[in-house]
Structures are given as C-alpha cells and as structure tokens.
Symmetry: C2
Subunit: 167 residues, 2 copies
Amino acid sequence: MRQRPLAFDPIAEAERHWRDHGWEEAAPGMAAVTSIMRAQQILLGRVDDVLRAFDLTFARYELLRLLAFSRQGTLPLGKISQRLQVHAASVTNAVDRLVDQGLVTRTPNPSDGRGLLATITPAGQDVVDQATEKLNSSVFSSLGLSERDLQQLFRVLCKLRQSAGDF
Amino acid sequence: MRQRPLAFDPIAEAERHWRDHGWEEAAPGMAAVTSIMRAQQILLGRVDDVLRAFDLTFARYELLRLLAFSRQGTLPLGKISQRLQVHAASVTNAVDRLVDQGLVTRTPNPSDGRGLLATITPAGQDVVDQATEKLNSSVFSSLGLSERDLQQLFRVLCKLRQSAGDF
DNA sequence: AAAGATTGAGTTATCAATCTTC
DNA sequence: GAAGATTGATAACTCAATCTTT
C-alpha cells in the first residue's frame, strides 16, 4: 500500500479545521490522538514486516517475549491477559497458534484446576531471540528520532497510560 | 475487559530487561514503540465507546469527517484512500457500510469513467457533527495531559510521520 | 456464585486476483 | 499496459454465551 507523500500534513490541516469550527479546546487533543493512531499504524507496519519472516504477529511476539522474560518461561493464561492488556479470547487464540508452531506448550496449572499454563519451548526461545535481534536493528534502533524525543514520548505516554489505570 | 492496575509500569520493566540483555541502543526505541501501541489501544477504546452510540467505527468516522471538510462534501475513493492512508479495499468496505447507513452516496466520477465519488448526505453531516461534539467533550478535551504535553506529543510524532514519508 | 478458559458469531483489515476504463 | 475499484480468502480481535472448577 505504498503511497506518494501528500503536499501537507493532514493532521495539522485537521487541527486548522477544528479551530475554524470553534473547537479550540479540543483541537490539541484531537491532533495528539490522531497522531498516535497514525504513528501506531506506521510502526505496526514496520514491525509486522520484520516479524513476517518468523511467521509471527506483534501480538504473538509480545506473548513470547513475556514468557521469555518470566522466571520459568511459564505463566498462567490469565496472567498473560492481564500483563498484555488483551482479552482472554485473544490469549486463547494466540496460544493456539503458538502451540501449532511448536513455540509454546499449554499445560494444566497444578495449583489451580481451572487454569492453564503457557510455557515457551526451546524453539520458541530461539525464535524470539532472533526476532528481537532483527526488531532491534531494523526498527527500534532506527526510528529517526533523537534520544531526547524518545524520552519525551515515553514520558508523556507514560502519564497517559497511568491516568488510564494501567498501573 | 476491565482489569485491575498492575503494581508497576510493564513497559519500564521491559526496558530494564532490554538493558540487562545488553540491548541499550534499542531500549529507548522499544519503549517508545511499545508505549505508542498501548496508547493507541487505550484511545481507540475510548473513541469506539463514544462512536458506538452512533453506530460508527473510528475508520468510518474519519471517512465522514474527511468528506465533511471537503469543499463539496465529495471525494474520489482513491483520494480518500490516499488521505486516510488505508488500503483501497478498506475504503470500499467502509463506504459500503456508510451507504447502507444512508450517511454517504456512491456515484460515478463524471471526469473519470473508472472512478467513483463518495458524497456525504445531510444525514451523514448530522451524524458526524453530533459524533464530533461528543468526541470533543468526552475524549479529546479530557486526555489528562497538559497543553505542553500535547504539543510535545504532536511535535515528536510529526517528525516520525514525516520521516515515514507521510507528507 | 465467581473465576479461568474456550467457542462461535460478528466486524474489520489486508492481500492477491480480477474487471473495467483510461 | 496502468490505474481505479471490487471481490473472495485469510487472519485477528471482541463480545456474549458456555463449560468447568473453585
């Protein structure tokens, strides 16, 4: 879906429209929200381009990464849902795919008969390490933003997440 | 999918893990990208909550808004795809839904036999105005960020979009 | 009754292939 | 042949309903 660039910033133009309609109070928020939506779209595209070679989506990559960072490489499905802030049904689906790919196993939780554990396999460790290397070099290290910009971004979005009750 | 808050910032924790693994160079970028993904998820949730009352998604709202701001309330489908940076198939789909809802009409483009025009109807104007009022008051004006934070956000993400070739 | 997890239905987005018109 | 648009297949997410265990 490659497009040629526009001759102007479409979000700055939207903000102008907002002010022309007398919505000054909402204009900066509209511009910020729209910018985040568009930035996410751009970044997810780059990330998915990298992960396609590993037959992973960002959602499944994040799940693998979470398991890889956990002490025993094992977490209850409910814990995963909570940590990644996604619906339980999405976890079920992602784990299904990862089990099919041989990157994760799904076993009963010995300490809770209702629950299940997801455990990363050696193959999963391998894939997540390789994918991380590639994401680091191809995306995260080359965003074209200064260290200062990245820190500002993190700081402001941290406030947003905090006021949303994330932590 | 309401969850109770975590006792720590999961993204700050991921950044620590990154540094522990010797990925210092990629850590700030990883934190920024992950923060944007999560912020988008939070904001899209709020926006969709508001738009549900109007039977709209954010994608369809953006399409309506774009038409409402255009000179004659009319744009070629290709132009819409370009402006919103979405796949042509997505525009076809969104316009289908909006036509079903009576908010948009789809007509042949008189100046290009291959093309089609989407035109907002009076009902569409009405809905997009009401939805905008509600978004402004319920989301855009109450993000819990200072004017300065919003401007920083916009400025940094503007750089990102620019370096991605958006405009 | 409440919590953990799965299922099936409904929605949306993307891609490749196709059709029409330039 | 190239551009505008649609179609069908595929994949992913969410929700409500359901099942099992606590």
